[in-house]
């Protein structure tokens, strides 16, 4: 391999944290103009490696060397890496939502003379970059916050390009995108490839990896397992390399054990919190039985999250219709009541809604069940440690002890802490909103297994998910909603990705 065709070479990178070797002699080579996927479970070292590359961990804090276009580089900060043409687009977008697209694009490098911004030039330049990323239908003056996530991401990419980036790193770019938006993103990336932009693509979604990447490098436990051309390897093989064992099946579904109807929702309508004439949920009816997994499918913005939040008493829009829990008509006004009726909600955003990141594992697990571990308002610390330990072991949460601060855990382990918190409330109906978003294959499997355990014990599970294979693989019945209305309900064996997508787009296929 000649030097000229190699865009990036990271040689023997070792990064040590107190007590952990996050990267152990990692070698990573990317050829010019290719799309190179980086795969690995959470905690495998992908993010650490990219932080080394982007200068977030400066030279001296790690061993090994970075070679770009044949030149050894020593970055002492993010700016240095940017000068070498490296740009990272993180999973959590870093745009100022109240500023216009143009302002965001030129943030920190405004076109100005004597501190006065030349708006005409800024807008002209912005339009040029927006065209590059295929965003031609929005004006550069648009407030960024009004755009959908997909378009915001395009703005981020435009911003990276405007900094003359020729090595683009995308960290889980499609985690929050709809299928349509994913397609747009992938086609933009293909176009870039034509123009010779090199791209590192980090994703858990192997389908995307295989549809777009040229090569894939697998990391496991801080070590390079290998680099392969995608034509020479299969999805199953990559998964087994990632987890270090053969996964027999991705979705360990078991037969449902349907018992009584525990939740019956009829003519449920929820208004928008601000625009009271708009309905986010419109005349919806369904029922859920004990011992089954009830899946809810729909596109982003279809009202899935609003529905479950409202049922849980934590949505500010006004709800009408009837809700029966165990044949008793109830109207849940707040989360305290919801918990009392045996509901539990694992929300889609664990950092925002699920965890107190500064608290330790046991404090988070017991947060909704403080009554169980206290006597007239005084916490029994012994009980708390014992209970925390029990859940930590049962859920196989990887942490040093129950006193580990939750913010330091990986995504999958954080999600398990949230699950632990809700399992401790002994729920009858467990609502899971995107339960496996952003967590690795191994942890996903553990969560599926846990769901099976729960339905065996007679818990009813409602699962909202954007990942159709997961919904099809785990649910016993699937309800599809579109624009707040129920458009279809299928038994697991009747459903397929095609019929669900048709129903999710309002029945108007294509």
């Amino acid at each position: 391999m000649s030097e000229m065709t190699t865009a990036l070479e990271m040689r023997n990178i070792t990064k040590q944290f107190p007590g952990v070797k996050a990267l152990d002699e990692v070698t990573f080579t990317v050829k010019k103009g290719e799309i190179h996927a980086l795969c690995g479970e959470n905690g495998a070292g992908k993010s650490t490696l990219m932080k080394v590359l982007s200068g977030l961990y400066p030279t001296g804090t790690y061993d090994g060397e970075i070679v770009i276009n044949g030149e050894v580089k020593r970055f002492s900060g993010i700016k240095d890496a940017e000068h070498s043409g490296i740009a990272i687009i993180y999973q959590e977008l870093a745009l100022a939502k109240d500023l216009s697209i143009a302002e965001n694009l030129f943030l920190g490098k405004e076109i100005a003379q004597w501190g006065v911004i030349n708006w005409e030039k800024v807008f002209k330049e912005s339009e040029k970059w927006l065209t590059e990323v295929g965003l031609t239908d929005v004006s550069p003056e648009t407030r960024t916050g009004t755009l959908g996530i997909g378009k915001q991401q395009q703005v981020e990419i435009a911003k990276a390009l405007s900094k003359n980036a020729n090595l683009l790193i995308l960290d889980e770019p499609t985690a929050a995108l709809t299928e349509q938006e994913v397609d747009i993103l992938l086609s933009i990336l293909r176009e870039f490839k034509e123009r010779g932009v090199t791209c590192i693509y980090i994703s858990h979604k192997l389908k995307e990896v295989f549809s777009i990447a040229d090569s894939v490098t697998v990391l496991r436990d801080g070590k390079t397992i290998g680099t392969y051309r995608v034509d020479d390897i299969t999805e199953e093989k990559v998964i087994s390399l990632m987890v270090g064992r053969e996964l027999k099946q991705l979705f360990p579904r078991i037969e449902s054990q349907p018992g009584d109807v525990v939740l019956k929702v009829q003519n449920y309508t929820v208004t928008h919190p601000d625009l009271t004439h708009r309905k986010v949920i419109d005349d919806l009816s369904f029922e859920v039985r004990q011992g089954e997994i009830f899946g809810i499918a729909g596109l982003m913005g279809a009202g899935r999250t609003e529905l479950v939040m409202s049922l849980f008493g934590s949505y500010s829009g006004v709800a009408s219709g009837t809700v029966e829990i165990e044949r008793k008509s109830t109207l849940i006004k707040n989360t305290q009541q919801a918990i009392k009726y045996g509901l539990a909600l694992v929300s889609e955003d664990r950092k925002k809604y699920g965890l107190v990141l500064g608290m330790d594992v046991k404090n988070n697990i017991t947060l909704s069940s403080l009554k169980q571990i206290s006597n007239s308002g005084v916490i029994d610390q012994h009980k708390e440690v014992y209970q925390g330990n029990d859940y930590m072991k049962a859920l196989r949460i990887k942490a040093n002890s129950v006193e580990t601060i939750v913010g330091t855990l990986s995504g999958g382990n954080q999600q398990k802490v949230v699950l632990g918190k809700w399992l401790m409330t002994k729920p009858k109906i467990l609502i899971l909103d995107e339960p496996t978003r952003g967590i690795d294959v191994g942890a996903k499997f553990e969560i599926y297994t846990l769901m099976n355990e729960l339905i065996k014990q007679g818990v009813a599970i409602i699962m909202v998910s954007s990942e159709l294979p997961e919904l099809l693989g785990m649910s016993h019945r699937i309800m599809v909603i579109s624009e707040g209305r129920k458009t279809a309900e299928y038994k697991a064996e009747e459903a397929s990705q095609e019929v669900i997508m048709t129903a999710a787009t309002g029945g108007r296929a294509g």
């Binding site: 107190p18 919801a338 990141l357 610390q381 014992y386 990887k398």
Partner: protein
Amino acid sequence: MKEQTVIESEYEQTPLVARSWKTLFKFDARAYTMIGALLAIWVLFSLLHERFLSPTNLSNLFLQMSVTSILAIGMVLVIVAGHIDLSVGSLVGFIGGVVAMLNVWYDWPALPVIIVAIAIGALIGCIQGWIIAYKAVPAFIVTLGGMLVFRGLLFGTTGSVTVAPLSPGLKAIGQSYMSDVIGWIIGSIGLLIAAALVLRKRASRGKYGFAVEPLAISVARIIATGVLILGFVAVMNSYKGIPVPFLMVVVLALIFTFITRNTTFGRQVYAIGGNPEAAKLSGINIKRRVMLVFVLCNTLAAIAALVLTARLNAATMTAGQNYELDAIAACVIGGTSLIGGAGSIMGALIGALVMSSLDNGMSLMNMESFWQYIVKGGILVLAVYVDIHTRNRKNNAA
């Protein structure tokens, strides 16, 4: 099967003695910095003025820090919950005015006056807390308004005159001292309780397989606490004895430390400050908890008002001015995060002692009062700078 063992081994504690030595020093780095800063201030003042460390002055110092400390205890809860209370200074002035009027003008005896003062504090806490929690008006605005309203109420009800002197019974709250014998008894009981707590913690940590600190350290801790407590009693007794207001601070600090550490209410307040959205979805009644936090804070302000008025033996128009800032500064110097979710009563007390030491030392040296403002302001900013700096370093290392 192999996978299983890997994960199991990650659960294993590392109950190494070496590790617990290390964590001990790492964990308490912040506390040591604060205590170190306090000692540095003391050494400096004792070099600049020979009477700074005299029993008389130390007794005065602990008397002076009492009001700030009582306010800071309540303020910790408010700030931990993610709010702020700017009204406590004016509230101290207003309730002090009511106390003096009832006692001086209407000849009410001490007990009913105390009850009324505390009731007013609780009621005002209810009102402010209700507007903040249930009507969603930011605490900054509500208590800024309160700051003006209560100062105005003080002027209006007293007719802007100083109300003095108080009856001896009421004066005792702020001006009396424990007799030597009682001082020693209290000190000894304190020491026994401290020793029992250290040993109990050791025992329970051992039971769960957590890292237990070496016995030598536990013993050293007990001895250090003993020297501190008994030394304090000896110094105080060589003047007039332990000041009653300071004893009140100790009792309140113990009660509120228990509340923050061992009650569901305390835990929920920290969760609310740490992540209000998650706390709400976890089924915590945020509104009720926040309101209660303000009730407690303003009730403590009423107690502070009683102490201050009794000590000054008068209600004046400027009583309590800027005290809210001293209390907030004490909390922040003591490591309470203004974002919410973190902070301790003990830290706030050390912060209050730092602020009071600066006041006391500079007055003792007859420095003009403008210097006191400048130095205190500078120290506040410096303390937070050091705190953020050390925190960042810790984060980068992790």
